[in-house]
């Protein structure tokens, strides 16, 4: 670790390295997009705590490390099994596995997909020059500096496209592993999910890294739901507690579509998740569930924004946090009802359990409403394990620690029981029952 680095200089020189490595044609649409993005990033710089959206999250530590782009692909010398947590080994379905930002074809598997379904590596697409058109159309890099950074730097990720009427039963797993690489590296995963008319799919993004490693993951996922599409997006984040994990999910919904997100944040030193959903047609529904568990000195920041742009939209949001040690949590949930978005039904809940004297939470649920015929509520509670509940369990002969564990598990389980990927749910349940805050020492 060095002192504070010159952000602009460092990222510009990395950008030149990337340009050389990729050899994209000057003036091609993709190259133009990258150029615009890096220029925008240069203007924005890293956000400071004066910026309302980053008020409680100081990204200064990120500016103290000079991250490198990962070197050309070295086939990992280990078995995949040794890197994957048990729940993922047991999970069925197609998968793309990425190590240090590169796809590992031998570990990936997209066999048996219905005809017409595309599940492919973005890197391979870029190599052929066939860039999927909507890439970069939804994730706006004008405001969010890290989306700009990702748009300038992405070179790998996944493209998932479902043709009309296609229903996938098994989830698609996108697995990102950061293996020890000597010096701190940065990866910029980029996903594009295109769900056609009347399609159904489940996407599971997961992120892992060896404990103690310092690296920077900056992911962006764009999800587009066409008419009557149903998409469930699950993200499991178990990065090293020294790692930086920033991720943005941008969702765009067409008529009668249904989007569900499960965001499980267990690891990472400095974590920021942005989920923005735009209900851009009548009759849409969005559900956002989240669970964040912090111990040690972790900082976990969840930002969600739901834009009700058209009438008859519904959104349900439940975010729960468990904070121990000196962990800090941030929840910022905004429901924005645009003029004319009548009959909107929006409900948002944020609950946080503080388990130690040093843990902190900053919660900011917000409603901005410009239509009158709406039903919008939000609620936030913060507290510790209730004494009367502990007492009840103890009168039944359950020890203090056991009772506390049970109650903490019950708190988390409200989110866990909504998970549809069974091996993940079962594994998380077992983890939480055993030790509710040992979220990250995850493997096996």
């Amino acid at each position: 670790m060095t002192g504070v680095i010159d952000i602009k200089e460092t990222y510009f020189s990395r950008f030149s390295e990337l340009e050389r490595a990729l050899g994209e044609r000057e003036g091609s649409p993709l190259h133009r997009l990258r150029q615009l993005a890096i220029e925008r990033f240069a203007e924005l710089g890293f956000p400071t705590t004066d910026d309302e959206e980053w008020r409680f999250t100081n990204v200064a530590p990120l500016a103290q490390v000079s991250f490198r782009l990962p070197a050309a692909n070295e086939p990992p010398a280990v078995e995949l099994k040794q890197l994957l947590p048990s729940w993922l080994q047991a999970a069925a379905g197609p998968r793309l596995v990425f190590v240090n930002g590169r796809m590992i074809p031998t570990w990936s598997n997209t066999d048996g997909l219905p005809p017409g379904v595309v599940v492919t590596s973005l890197g391979q697409r870029l190599a052929t020059g066939a860039v999927p058109a909507p890439l970069g159309r939804y994730a706006d890099f004008d405001v969010h500096p890290f989306v700009a950074l990702n748009t300038a730097f992405f070179r790998e990720g996944a493209v998932v496209a479902l043709p009309k009427g296609c229903v996938l039963t098994d989830p698609i797993h996108l697995v990102w592993i950061s293996a020890a690489a000597g010096e701190p590296i940065m990866t910029h995963p980029r996903h594009l999910i295109l769900a056609g008319v009347q399609t159904q799919a489940r996407i599971v993004e997961s992120y892992f890294g060896p404990e103690g490693a310092v690296y920077f993951t900056n992911a962006v996922t764009e999800v587009v739901l066409e008419e009557s599409a149903i998409v469930e997006h699950t993200k499991v984040q178990q990065e090293s507690t020294e790692a930086f994990h920033l991720a943005a999910v941008q969702v765009h919904q067409d008529r009668d579509s249904r989007f569900t997100s499960h965001a499980i944040a267990l690891g990472g030193g400095l974590v920021r998740n942005d989920i923005n959903v735009i209900l851009d047609a009548p009759g849409t529904e969005a559900t956002l569930n989240g669970l964040y568990v912090g111990t040690g000195r972790q900082l976990i920041d969840n930002h969600t924004r739901i834009d009700h742009a058209r009438p008859h939209g519904a959104s349900h949001e439940l975010y729960k946090g468990i904070l121990d040690g000196q962990a800090r949590g941030v929840f910022n949930g905004k429901i924005y009802v645009h003029p004319g978005a009548q009959k909107t039904d929006a409900k948002q809940t944020n609950k946080t359990l503080l388990l130690s004297d040093e843990a902190q939470i900053n919660s900011k649920p917000q409603l901005e409403i410009y239509a009158d015929d709406v039903k919008c509520t939000h609620g936030a509670t913060i507290g510790q394990v209730a004494e009367d509940m502990l007492f009840y369990l103890r009168t039944r002969g359950i020890g203090q620690d056991e009772a506390r564990r049970l109650l903490t598990f019950a708190f988390a389980n409200e989110v866990l029981e909504r998970l549809s990927v069974e091996p993940l749910r079962a594994w998380l349940e077992a983890r939480f029952l055993q030790s509710p805050t040992a979220g990250r020492e995850t493997h096996r």
Binding site: E52, P339, G340, Q342, T352, L354, L355, S356, D357, A359, Q360, I361, N362, S363, K364, P365, Q366, L367, E368, I369, Y370, A371, D372, D373, V374, K375, C376, T377, H378, G379, A380, T381, I382, G383, Q384
Partner: protein, 482 residues
Amino acid sequence: MSTATSTIQELANREYQHGFVTDIETDSLPPGLDEDVIRTISAKKNEPPFLLEWRLRAYRHWRTMPEPRWANVHYPPIDYQNIVYYSAPKPRKKLSSLDEVDPELRATFEKLGISLQEQMRLTGVAVDAVFDSVSVATTFKNKLAEMGIIFCSFSEAVREHPELVRKYLGSVVPYTDNFFAALNSAVFSDGSFCYIPKNTRCPMELSTYFRINAANTGQFERTLIIAEEGAYVSYLEGCTAPIRDTNQLHAAVVELVAVGRNSHIKYSTVQNWYPGDKEGRGGIYNFVTKRGKCLGENSRISWTQVETGSAITWKYPSCILQGDNSVGEFYSVALTNHYQQADTGTKMIHIGKNTRSTIVSKGISAGRGQNTYRGLVKIMKGADHARNYSQCDSLLLGDKCGAHTFPYIEVRNPTARVEHEASTSRIGEDQIFYCKQRGLSTEDAVNLIVNGFCKEVFRELPMEFAVEAQKLLGVSLEGSVG
């Protein structure tokens, strides 16, 4: 439901009933602000040197501050050099009884229904009437003085009790606090001062009526209320202002200090300044800093406000809960109609152990009104077993208005229990239907529902105000709430 809508429209379109201008010769400075203006204000008021120094420090600090823009309100830039910073009705002579008050001024109060005599005789309310910036009549003073209670204009307090003013002025809202507090500290012309000594229960509601009159006169009051151990006081503040085309800036500062153990200050406001016309022209800019500090153990500060006027309302009556077991309360009804904007709420800063706070905020938006609740609940590290309950409800009447909620909750102590809930909806058609089915007219039904919506706040108001508050809502819009 079209009948309900038309009733709402009717109510929403009512004109401001307190619009009239009284012609009284005023003793005003030319517009503009520099150190000389501040020296002149200070000299006119025969202030001691420490206060002039303080004003000048505030002014110098103010000049270094940028004007804040973060609130969810929009207005054209204010030209601070085009404001008259001092305007006082010309004193005829020292007043010893009400009969000597300027007859024109008296007539104005009569129109507003604030007859001093009536109030003295019937309600037992001591009224310290502020006309523009200078107190012209103070009642019941002798009676209060017998108990050791000081209730007078701020200028008088500076003259008679400089040690108290010096000790507490700026102790809750320092001049460095924010842009408008700094401006106020530099140029405040008058206001009210109240001191309740140890173990004294103020026998009557203390009340001040403010009235902005001369055109282009920003009014900068300063209120300071101090309660010693075991003291109790209930203070009322109410305002109306005449119709004006140009916007008038109002940047008051109110400081409450609950110094001693078991002290209790209750501060109630009914604000009905000119909100501008139906097109959003004119109206008062009401940028106020109000804050109370609970220093003593078991001390308590309650804010109750009914905000129906002003083109823009921007204020956050707050409590710093420093003493152990201290209690902070905030009850608010804010109504915006036509082009009115309100960004209001509270801050509850929990520092002491077992501190408790309650927030109940009711926002009503109609026409093109924009109503924002913005609040902070902060539980500091040492605030063991702190407790907060917040409830913010918004009611929407019409499809062009907006209701927004921005609560900040920052918790640093695991033993704290914090709950926040907010809801936004429009007046229930089923509720109106239910009432009509029982034979009530639509208007009565709407009125009934409105009263229900605001009941939790109204019942916190002293009797004298509760009636006026309901009347005000009725004038502004009462029926539309549900």
